[in-house]
């Protein structure tokens, strides 16, 4: 078996007395592309947010590359920093920094979170944008981008800090059929390079096309774990 990048054990999250996550348990291994499948409102996005350290939870444990966040003692700033260094996330609505150009959106974190020299970070950012086919938009502002362009920039921004684990929330929501095929190729390319991906989606054909494993989610827990042949 490959190296285990992500492990959730009995993660339970209550929000205003309602159980949003009810004992979620699953593992993800290096190079896998795991799809969290299910209709809206079953807890897929919340699972991604828990993994990214954006949500506190009541009980259970999340391990990312061996670093544990526990629901019992809350999140400690040090733990969060360590986990975030391992995780990248592409939000459904991208959340690109509205006041910065595309290029700066991408090189900001390498320089200010990882201490990379700015020139090097800029070159890497340009290369990433080129690889994703949006280098011609380097000097545009997020409000000037189409949905597909914004998504690619958001992926480039997440990849710029080189996280072993990349989370994507509903990546096909704003894409037409051609763009969806491009995205599939792109994500397959990423797993081929040894990166691990967890994608929350309710797009069945997309999941069948590109995931190596599908986890079906219902009422805050995983009820089916099926590898795709």
């Amino acid at each position: 078996m490959n190296h285990c990048v992500l492990r959730l054990q009995e993660v339970t999250l209550l929000r205003s007395g309602r159980q949003v996550l009810a004992g979620v348990t699953f593992d993800v291994h290096r190079g896998e592309l795991v799809a969290l499948m299910g209709p809206s409102g079953v807890g897929k996005t919340t699972m991604l947010r828990v993994i990214a350290g954006l949500e506190t939870f009541q009980s259970g444990t999340v391990h990312v590359e061996g670093i544990a966040i526990s629901g019992a003692n809350g999140h400690l700033p040090g733990q969060l920093r360590d986990v975030r260094a391992k995780v990248g996330m592409v939000f459904q609505f991208h959340h690109l920094f509205e006041h910065l150009s595309v290029l700066k959106n991408v090189w900001l974190a390498p320089v200010y979170a990882r201490g990379m020299p700015q020139r090097e970070a800029e070159n890497r950012a340009r290369a990433l944008l080129a690889a994703l086919g949006v280098e011609h938009r380097a000097h545009a502002f997020p409000r000037e981008l189409s949905g597909g362009e914004a998504q690619r920039v958001a992926i480039a921004r997440a990849l710029a800090v080189d996280p072993p684990l990349l989370l994507l929330d509903e990546p096909t929501a704003s894409l037409d059929a051609n763009r969806r095929a491009e995205l599939r190729d792109l994500l397959c390319g990423l797993t081929g390079a040894g990166r691990t991906l967890v994608v929350a989606t309710h797009d069945e054909p997309f999941a069948r096309d590109c995931a190596s494993r599908v986890l079906r989610v219902r009422e805050g827990s995983v009820f089916e774990d099926a590898a795709i042949a």
């Binding site: 990214a52 350290g53 954006l54 920093r81 975030r84 260094a85 995780v87 990248g88 996330m89 939000f91 609505f93 959340h95 690109l96 920094f97 509205e98 006041h99 900001l108 974190a109 200010y112 979170a113 990882r114 502002f141 997020p142 409000r143 921004r157 997440a158 800090v161």
Partner: protein, 504 residues
């Protein structure tokens, strides 16, 4: 039902009519037998001051002269409280029939109003700190020195003259108390004011001396509107009688301002000899055309505008820096820090800025002696920082949480999230209300004239007093304020357009 409604209507109409009739009746009762006279109790004794024993009553020699006149014309004196610098305009408007408050006889007043005969002669005298008694004897000795006086008076005109002639620096005050306290603590080097005021201050403030040589001689008069010359003539007769029968002497002796100058003045008046408004100083030519007046005052108005714009810009800069710190402390700080900062904001917002300026400049002068411009800058900055901080706090909290999460997940520290993402986004949201505040500050900066800072509104007020009209000075002043605020508003609008972003 219909009957009830109509009787209710009748009742309402009846009550309204009764209230109206009573109000009209009341107005008639106050105007018929009353002799309305205007003065400024802030000027204090011996002219007009609030009675220390019954603060709702006024006392002073001007009060007794008003009572004397009212008695002789069989009317009841009614005191109207008017700011000293507005008495002329107020009389012109008809708020009161006569102004009596140590008002100076000037060629301008003689030309535009109906002043009474002078009832008191005063000397413009220099006061200096005891140590300077030998070196500062005359205005000519005060080259390059700051000399204080009350704005809009003959003394102020004399100082403007001395500025051209000897290079003294005139400092204009809104009252006649603070020039002397500022003299004693060294903020200014001399005070030029009426001997009556100087002697009064010398009785309860030590540390300064009055130079014996007088700079000019002037007179106090009552002022009436030009259309009221018949009443003025009647009052002149009453004043002459009071000079003849010793009533005036008795009043002035009671207030300890009787001296040898007075019987000489009275004798000249009773012998129908002319008395010049001012002696020892060539008063500025009067009856300028609108154009001449504008040309003459425009340079000083422009200079005053420069003070206004520099002061406003620096104060706003200070307010922004401090406001950002306060807002950041209130969003990110510990409970104690949040509590302290909230206290500061509420204290500053809940008290008048004028009070804060007074406390900063005069109130704490014994502890920290701030220069006038510094105190004005600090006062406006501290005050506006409270308002700015509320804008920034709201803006920080309005930054979409998705932007913050995106920054956090990239591994940026909270400080970096604030400086690279949250702060710049909040600044864009805050821009419109900030522009609004800056324009408000531009106008609030006129309040600092109480700290002797000579800005646009103060200069306009002096301009208006000198020419006896607010029309041209008011228009010029408005044009200058607009010239400062409009470009700013335009710039802010452009920036807003450039920075407009979706918050989805």
């Amino acid at each position: 039902m219909k009957f009830l409604r109509s009787s209710l209507r009748n009742l309402a109409v009846g009550l309204l009519a009764a209230a109206f009739l009573r109000a009209a009746d009341g107005a008639a009762a106050t105007s018929a037998g009353d002799f309305r006279w205007a003065g400024d109790p802030e000027g204090g004794a011996p002219f007009v001051e609030a009675d220390p024993r019954r603060p709702d009553q006024v006392v002073g020699f001007d009060v007794e002269i008003a009572e004397l006149i009212a008695r002789k014309i069989n009317r009841v004196p009614q005191f109207i409280n008017i700011t000293f610098t507005s008495i002329d305009q107020s009389i012109e408007r008809g708020d009161a029939e006569i102004g009596l408050s140590g008002i100076e006889d000037t060629p301008a007043r003689r030309a535009t109003m109906a002043p009474t005969i002078p009832y008191y002669e005063f000397r413009e005298v220099l006061s200096v700190r005891n140590a300077d008694r030998a070196r500062f004897r005359t205005l000519a000795d005060l080259k390059g020195r700051r000399v204080g006086t009350l704005g809009g008076t003959i003394a102020y005109d004399i100082l403007l003259n001395a500025e051209r002639e000897f290079g003294v620096q005139p400092v204009s005050y809104d009252d006649d108390v603070h020039p002397y306290s500022d003299l004693v603590i060294g903020r200014i080097d001399a005070v030029l004011l009426d001997n009556v005021l100087a002697e009064r201050r010398a009785r309860n403030l030590s540390g300064f001396a009055i130079q014996p040589q007088s700079v000019a001689i002037g007179h106090y008069v009552g002022i009436l509107a030009a259309r009221n010359s018949a009443l003025r003539d009647q009052i002149d007769d009453i004043l002459r009688t009071a000079m003849r029968d010793g009533t005036l002497e008795r009043i002035f002796r009671k207030w300890r301002v009787w001296n040898d100058d007075q019987p000489r003045l009275h004798a000249r008046l009773l012998a129908a000899q002319p008395v010049a408004a001012v002696t020892g100083f060539e008063a500025s030519p009067i009856a300028l055309t609108a154009w001449q007046a504008m040309l003459r005052y425009l340079p000083s108005l422009l200079r005053a505008s420069l003070v206004t714009i520099v002061l406003s810009c620096l104060a706003m800069l200070f307010a922004i820096v401090l406001g950002i710190s306060i807002a950041t402390g209130r969003v990110y700080g510990t409970r104690l820090m949040r509590w302290l900062l909230t206290g500061y904001v509420e204290l500053v917002r809940g008290t008048p800025i004028l009070l804060q300026l007074f406390v900063l400049y005069y109130g704490i002068a014994d502890l920290i002696r701030l220069p006038a411009f510094g105190a004005a800058l600090l006062g406006l900055g501290l005050n506006y920082a409270a308002y700015e901080s509320e804008i920034y706090r709201g803006a920080l909290q309005a930054v979409p949480v998705g932007q913050l999460e995106a920054a956090r997940i990239l591994g940026l520290s909270e400080t970096r999230v604030l400086t690279l993402v949250r702060g710049p986004l909040a600044f864009r949201l805050a821009l419109a209300p900030m522009t609004n505040d800056f324009i408000a500050l531009l106008k609030d900066s006129s309040l600092v004239s109480v700290l002797t800072v000579f800005e646009l509104t103060k200069q306009t007020q002096i301009f208006a007093t000198n020419i006896g009209s607010w029309v041209i000075p008011g228009l010029l002043c408005a044009a200058l304020y607009l010239a400062m605020s409009l470009p700013l508003a335009t710039l802010a609008r452009r920036l807003e357009q450039r920075w407009r972003f979706s918050t989805a």
